[in-house]
Symmetry: C2
Subunit: 208 residues, 2 copies
DNA sequence: CCGTCAACTGTATCCGTGGTACAGTGTTTT
DNA sequence: AAAACACTGTACCACGGATACAGTTGACGG
């Protein structure tokens, strides 16, 4: 196989995706022109369409890559927190602290969530993209619900809370916190909201 | 003055704004064409530009109207909750319950938040529109912070929480909850998140 | 009943750009 | 040398934003 060529192709594709993701999060998908992307990457229109058969394919590729990265991040981060801590509750709390710190360390604040961006423009996309979006959020629910179940087995929670809702709340805080941070131009607002969520979770299981 | 004519003009303007708001929340601002708006309202292009000198003015009018309505809603809702309850904490908790129920009663779920939509497309707009957006969120912070201060005067809160953050959290939960509801296609997810926020607030002041 | 003003319609027109198609080219690998 | 990949270059169209402006309708005020 043509290693060097393929690597170059993959690299170009990645650079298109990088430019596209940044532009989409600032202006939305419809307002992101192919012209500006190829100008940023140094490519011709034909080159773009060699990688993506149309703009819809670009949208799909953007979202797939974004979701994979988020999942990898959660795997890595909460996996590390688990290793540091045997207790599931404290492992989760440590993970949330790390998540908050990770967000605080972004020099220009969080760039934005593609799931949220696509949600507010979902009529631009086909069924497949919308289903990808739905599946991603349901995946996060499942992921964190499993953690919460493990915690609940050891720390009986207040019986009036639905753990699916608590699991969803992390996505809610993240998406809402990103919007808050962007709109009020305070990059630390997001990590502080994550810490509030952490307080809430602690309160549910420790009754504090 | 020509009452009937002016009323007709205002009515047309409102209908343009209604059509535009619905379209913007589904497809984004850039993808919302003037052609589709005038088709929906039954107008010609000349008629549109009679009301708005360009598309930017439409954006501004949309956001101004949206923010005014939200503020009016909060005034009405929490004002009513205050009248029913002398205690500031219970007044707030009743207001949050009412907010949750109001959202649950929307037959097709929440249509979306323009502030969030504009946030994810803010490079399309001029400084004025972006500042309107920022001011709106800061206004909500101030509004709820004042309530929280009144509550804190009677119920000493846990000393490790910042009340600005708790005030912001309502916007966060609302925006994040709307996205959650839309993406997972469960209109009740949003009101349930609002109830979780209510639990959190209760816990802060009552230590439950 | 006349004049005026608001609220349009209708028509024409310009320009930029998103999106598509496809033939050809250079470079690398086998 | 041929095949495969990663493009370039060019040509093209439809659509949408924006402008301009003359004409029309209907309500109102004097």
């Amino acid at each position: 196989m043509q290693d060097a060529q393929q690597r170059k192709g993959e690299d170009t594709r990645e650079r298109i995706l990088n430019a596209a993701e940044a532009a989409v999060l600032k202006k939305g998908f419809a307002a992101t022109s192919i012209d500006e992307l190829i100008a940023a990457v140094g490519l011709t229109k034909g080159g773009f369409f060699y990688h993506f058969k149309d703009k819809g394919e670009l949208a799909k590729a953007l979202l797939v890559r974004y979701i994979e990265r988020e999942n990898a991040l959660f795997d890595e981060l909460f996996g590390r927190a688990d290793q540091l801590n045997e207790d599931p509750l404290h492992g989760f709390l440590v993970g949330l602290k790390m998540l908050s710190e990770l967000m605080a360390d972004l020099p220009n604040g969080h760039p934005g969530c593609l799931v949220a961006s696509f949600c507010y423009q979902d009529r631009l996309f086909d069924r497949e993209v919308r289903e990808l979006n739905t599946a991603a959020v349901l995946g996060w629910r499942k992921r964190f619900r499993e953690r919460l179940d493990r915690i609940a087995a050891r720390y009986p929670p207040r019986n009036d809370v639905d753990l699916d809702d608590v699991a969803d709340m992390l996505s809610v805080i993240a998406d809402g916190g990103i919007i808050l941070s962007k709109v009020v131009k305070d990059k630390d607002a997001l990590p502080r909201q994550v810490m509030l969520y952490r307080d809430f979770v602690r309160g549910i299981f420790l009754g504090a």
